[in-house]
Symmetry: C2
Subunit: 299 residues, 2 copies
């Protein structure tokens, strides 16, 4: 038992990241059923679909689970209303200021965690009344901090900056890494990549197979002129890298990116046109696993 397991009422301080196109009710409920905290990734869901996932998750587990909300979500007001209406108890917010929505969520009795990539923002979380902070390093897949601070450097800095319960994220997939971030002062871990590639993840099989086949060094942090994003090797990354090498502007990159690229890559498994987002540690995941197997190897 520590502050993280107490805060969420869970057995193990292991949280499955709420990842776009991966974290539906199936993954979230499985993680919660094995004693971790499952999160539904609202970032890729239409409001109606989010309601469906929350209700299905509740049917599939009687354990605590949560919802991850990127604060840049276009219909954010409607989404927040749904969280309250559906009586969600735990919300992880990311990609935005913790000041805007934390008071609203807390007023409705919701436990709030916020994802940060610097100790400066960790302090802002404390001021905003957030209950726990997730500090995520450069290794993480998908959208990422501009500072490029790695988990090894970030966790001691955040530990020093705030007394809030601290969850480490970014590059954590193995038991030895869970032990390592504990030594750095983290009280829990948020694991993305390993759960994104497991059997209960709603990502497409092509995506999972592609990511499990990547060698060490098979991801890169690109799109820094828009929002830094860790991409996996492949056609999309190659084209982005070429554009950036020749100094493509923000506008050119934004036009090339267009809409729905991540859905195409992760959910529809289009390895040619789709955007493939995954964490740096994917090279250590070589076989399809179930959530049960993941917990057996970590706990």
């Amino acid at each position: 038992m520590n502050r993280i397991t107490e805060l969420f009422g869970i057995a193990h301080p292991i949280i499955a990241g709420g990842m776009v196109w991966c974290s539906g009710w199936r993954l979230a409920s499985a993680v919660s059923n094995y004693g971790g905290l499952g999160l539904i990734g609202a970032g890729s869901m239409h409001p109606d679909n989010l309601i469906h996932h929350i209700r299905s998750c509740r049917e599939a587990t009687d354990k605590p689970f949560g919802v991850n909300v990127p604060l840049l979500y276009p219909q954010i007001d409607e989404l927040m209303r749904i969280l309250v209406q559906e009586k969600v108890k735990i919300v992880f917010t990311s990609a935005g200021s913790p000041k805007k929505w934390t008071p609203f969520l807390k007023e409705h009795g919701i436990t709030v965690c916020h994802v940060v990539s610097s100790s400066l923002f960790a302090k802002k979380c404390e001021e905003a009344g957030v209950d726990a902070v997730v500090a995520e390093g450069f290794e993480a897949g998908g959208h990422n901090g501009r500072e490029e601070t790695t988990t090894l450097c970030l966790i001691p800095a955040v530990r020093e900056a705030t007394s809030l319960p601290l969850i480490a994220a970014g590059g954590i997939a193995l038991k030895c890494q869970v032990e390592a971030v504990k030594a750095l002062g983290a009280e829990g871990v948020q694991i993305g990549t390993r759960f994104a590639l497991c059997k209960e993840s709603s990502a497409h099989e092509n995506f999972k197979r592609h990511c499990m086949g990547l060698a060490e060094g098979g991801t890169r942090l690109l799109l820094k002129k828009l929002s830094p994003t860790r991409l996996a090797e492949g056609e999309f990354m190659k084209r982005v890298a070429e554009m950036e090498e020749r100094g493509a502007t923000k506008e050119e990159l934004s036009e090339f990116l267009g809409k729905g690229r991540a859905k195409r890559g992760i959910f529809e498994g289009d390895l040619q046109e789709g955007e493939i987002e995954i964490g740096q540690i994917c090279n250590m995941i070589k076989e399809p696993e179930t959530v049960e197997e993941i917990f057996a190897s970590l706990v």
Copy 2:
């Protein structure tokens, strides 16, 4: 006692990186005197100067010390001849293939360690007959791997790839970080930044003060078209970043870089024209320290 302390005949498995313009005989002998392994950084020394540093180090300590040799060194044959002639017992090689010089050094009874940024090269070290491998992550200052693998992700991969004694490097300055990389499977640590900024380092006071004043996120990995290098915020980095943003070619960058930039920045303390190289963890080092104080906090 472990394989690293036995291999070098030292009390603590703590190695001070052999850093250009920082690691002269003064720093190396102090580290060895406190029970770690001090390294002289040959990369920034003319052959005659290297002889001077080796002899001065031997006068200042009767404990084991070593020399770090970047294999791109222009007069590498002469330098290798000096290492043998001066009866250096431990050599750390970096920035090149371990196959070229390891047999020569081993024939002369020298213990050889090689610095890698991937498990692929760690395996090559094993084939080349290297005695121990230093695996250095993306967090490290100065020249850095193209794969951008962080220490947290790199160490478990290298641990899996080779049974060689393993030293972790990159982003390690604090005791909790030493514990963390031990959990990942490292048997020793190589610490750069914290020793580069200590009182015995031969770097200029301007450089040390500048780096100790940097906030979290105050370094960036740039010059990727030449050789990826972690630079500290300041005039030089600003100009490099601007050039890269507009897609400057390798040739343009190389011409801008010119010669002697690192000497100007690190050794002469020219914060306008000089190149300032330091690791990502510099924000955690706030006060000038002695080697004695560093060992007291780590051991």
